[in-house]
């Protein structure tokens, strides 16, 4: 145990012998987490996507649509003039604009002649989310109108209206009632979401916190390979094995040290997420601990296996960064995995970052607990077992 501790302390001293390591350990991860979360300093602020709305109709129906958008959890409507909206859009300061043209009212909706205009910047995630939010708002508004129309038809069959004015008044009353009922039915929204297979689950703060945590921890853990290559190049590994120290002791000390440092780094980033970004990382501490340990073990195992094959420190360093970045990107750490084509979504299941990210999102985004993350944790432990076996089997000291 003393030898393992000595190896851990030695590696920690070497790793933090320069300021630059602190930069990569905590400063840059926090900066990137903050920036990719949209620079949101706390959960108290409105983190919804800004949507420019041009209301040229100025009718009760258009007001109702804007109201539905304001109630959305995804977008924050900002009503502006067409000129202002188009200027911001052309300067790419707005990801999308939603124009409600003049003439859009209940009658046009009933007649089926109603149309709206939506413009979005190409390949923009926020615009895609805004589009979905608009579709939801329109669906809610039109379903209320549809309900009112049905009510009018049924009333007319049972008892014809005396005049058009009476019919119009009955329609308005029915529409108002339908809207009231709609407001009190949040469960229906939940049902619709659950039935949608390809929805984009995205919260910039949660995704950024989880994604950056994985990115900045996996890369140094892959760097275990660099540690092995360095010790081979300097002859210290060879010398170590002339002391009464077993290979297993060296491997255990080196790997456990790096895993411990990774867990400290992850806890710091989780702490930042909880305290500054107001994220719900701490809902299930046991589940969080399981995910952090399993993720770190999987990454450390890959680093150990790489260490058996790389020849130089430089090669190991380059490979660690390249693999870490690619795996983070493909694993959904930078963009929601749901945005990838279905074939890619299937392919990236071979990456540990995919499972780590999904497990983390289960906790911080979807409010899951220990049971929910068990599949991800199991797969990560599988990665760890396979790659540790390769690393130990092919371990060499020169």
């Amino acid at each position: 145990m003393r030898k393992i501790l000595a190896i851990i302390i030695k590696d920690a001293i070497m790793r933090f012998s320069g300021f630059s390591e602190l930069l990569f350990f905590i400063i840059l991860p926090i900066i990137f987490t903050f920036l990719l979360a949209g620079g949101t300093p706390s959960g108290d602020e409105d983190a919804r996507i800004r949507l420019l709305v041009v209301d040229e109709a100025q009718t009760a129906l258009s007001a109702q649509i804007v109201s539905e958008l304001a109630a959305s959890s995804a977008v924050r409507p900002e009503v502006v003039s067409r000129a202002d909206a188009e200027e911001q859009f052309s300067q790419r300061r707005a990801s999308s604009i939603f124009i409600i043209p003049a003439g859009l009212d209940t009658a046009s909706l009933q007649e089926g002649t109603a149309a709206v205009d939506f413009r979005q910047q190409p390949n923009n995630l926020n615009a895609s989310i805004a589009q979905r939010a608009i579709q939801t708002a329109l669906r809610r508004v039109s379903s209320a109108v549809s309900a009112a129309n049905t009510a009018v038809s049924q009333r007319e069959e049972a008892m014809p209206f005396a005049s058009d004015a009476e019919k119009a008044a009955y329609f308005d009353q029915s529409l108002e009632l339908a809207r009231e009922l709609q407001e009190d039915t949040p469960q229906r929204v939940t049902v619709i979401r659950a039935a949608t297979p390809d929805q984009v689950e995205y919260d910039p703060r949660a995704n950024s916190s989880a994604g950056q945590l994985i990115t900045w921890v996996f890369i140094p853990l892959f760097g275990i390979s660099e540690l092995f290559a360095y010790e081979r190049a300097t002859g210290t590994l060879r010398r170590l094995l002339t002391t009464p120290t077993r290979k297993a002791t060296y491997l255990l000390g080196t790997i456990s040290g790096q895993v411990l440092m990774a867990i400290v780094q992850m806890l710091l980033l989780v702490g930042f997420g909880i305290l500054v970004m107001k994220l719900a990382w701490g809902r299930d501490p046991l589940a969080l601990a399981v995910m952090l340990v399993c993720s770190a073990l999987a990454a450390a195992a890959i680093g150990s296996a790489m260490g058996a094959f790389v020849k130089t420190s430089g090669q190991a360093n380059g490979l660690s960064i390249m693999l870490g970045m690619v795996m983070a990107l493909m694993g959904g750490c930078w963009y929601p995995i749901e945005l990838f084509p279905p074939a890619i979504q299937t392919f990236v299941k071979v990456l540990p970052t995919t499972w780590a990210m999904q497990g983390m999102l289960d906790l911080v985004l979807r409010g899951g607990g220990l049971v929910d993350i068990l599949p991800e944790a199991g797969v990560l432990l599988g990665f760890a077992a396979v790659f540790f076996a390769v690393g130990v089997w092919r371990f060499r000291y020169e």
């Binding site: 000595a6 302390i9 070497m14 002391t243 009464p244």
Partner: protein
């Protein structure tokens, strides 16, 4: 004195290549034993097997009663190793390095701290102990490299060419350290390709070449194998052809052997003075200009030349 190391027919093969071809020797407790041989002779491979780093292909060695094949961990407890290349953590200070390696030898707490103080004193780095090794000169790093091997007071210290690539002053300091350690009772196995180091330090010398131990004994015993011979060294210009001169000289009466190393022709002869005039005449006859010459009495260089027909060179 009893033997602390007994090597029995040790063999190391890499595929078809045999690096060490069944060498046998012993080292007595308290002596300095040198393995002398050119680069690639098998010295480092032998030390690597004795320090349990490589498994021998055949044969065995017993160190302080423990077989290197059966009880490697027990062997590692009694040996210290000073590798040929520096094997230190340059980002750590000298003290941190010694602390780490001491713990790898199973030391700890106050005994380790006081032993580190002793070793730092011994290698003359007490004042610089808190500096990172990467700030040290090459000689200072070599001293720390030796210090690591001394921490646990090994009964047998392996030193693999510890003076390669360092300045004369540091080399002198290292040779003095080896003598001091031996004076304190430490047994040393010292490998080198410098004949004068082996001559200065060793109680006994083993000469190794192409993986074979070709001679073993004290300096006197080895030089007696050569007989009462001198070595005459002829240094010629770079534009001259040493092979032609060497061939011509081999036919002269009194020349036992002539060999070329760079632009120097080495002649083994019973009496250098007797053949000097004839050698110079032969060179003039061939039009080869001799720039300078040395006459050396029998030494380990001559022994190696005598045994292999080649000079002991870097």
């Amino acid at each position: 004195m009893p033997s602390i190391l007994e090597v029995n027919n040790l063999v190391k093969k890499y595929g078809d290549f045999t690096a060490v071809k069944g060498i046998s020797f012993d080292i007595r407790e308290g002596e300095i034993f040198s393995l002398l041989g050119p680069n690639g002779a098998g010295k480092t491979t032998t030390i690597s097997m004795l320090s349990t780093l490589y498994d021998p292909t055949d044969g065995d060695a017993v160190i302080a009663g423990h077989s290197i094949k059966k009880y490697p961990m027990a062997v590692r407890q009694v040996i210290g190793v000073v590798p040929q290349d520096l094997a230190l953590y340059e980002e750590l200070t000298a003290r941190e390095n010694l602390e780490f390696w001491g713990q790898m030898y199973g030391l700890g707490g106050k005994p380790l701290a006081s032993r580190i103080d002793e070793v730092l004193e011994q290698i003359g780095l007490t004042d610089k102990a808190k500096n990172r090794v990467k700030t040290y000169s090459g000689g200072m790093k070599r001293r720390v490299n030796i210090g690591v091997g001394l921490l646990h007071k090994p009964r047998l210290l392996f030193m693999d060419e510890p003076t390669v690539g360092i300045d004369p002053q540091s080399r002198r300091a290292i040779l003095d350290t080896v003598k001091a350690l031996n004076a304190q009772g430490m047994t040393v196995l010292y490998t080198t390709h410098y004949m004068e180091e082996a001559a200065e330090l060793s109680n006994r010398v083993g000469i190794i070449d192409h993986g074979e131990l070709i001679a073993l004994g004290t300096q006197d015993e080895l030089t007696r194998q050569v007989g009462q011979t001198d070595t005459l060294l002829l240094h010629i210009g770079e534009e001259e052809d040493p092979e032609a001169l060497s061939t011509a000289l081999r036919g002269l009466p009194g020349v036992q052997n002539a060999d070329v190393s760079d632009h120097t022709v080495s002649i083994i002869t019973p009496s250098a003075e007797d053949i000097l005039a004839a050698v110079v005449a032969k060179a003039n006859e061939r039009g080869i200009k001799i720039r300078s010459l040395d006459i050396r009495e029998p030494n380990l260089e001559a022994v190696f030349l005598h045994l292999t027909g080649r000079a002991l060179r870097d």
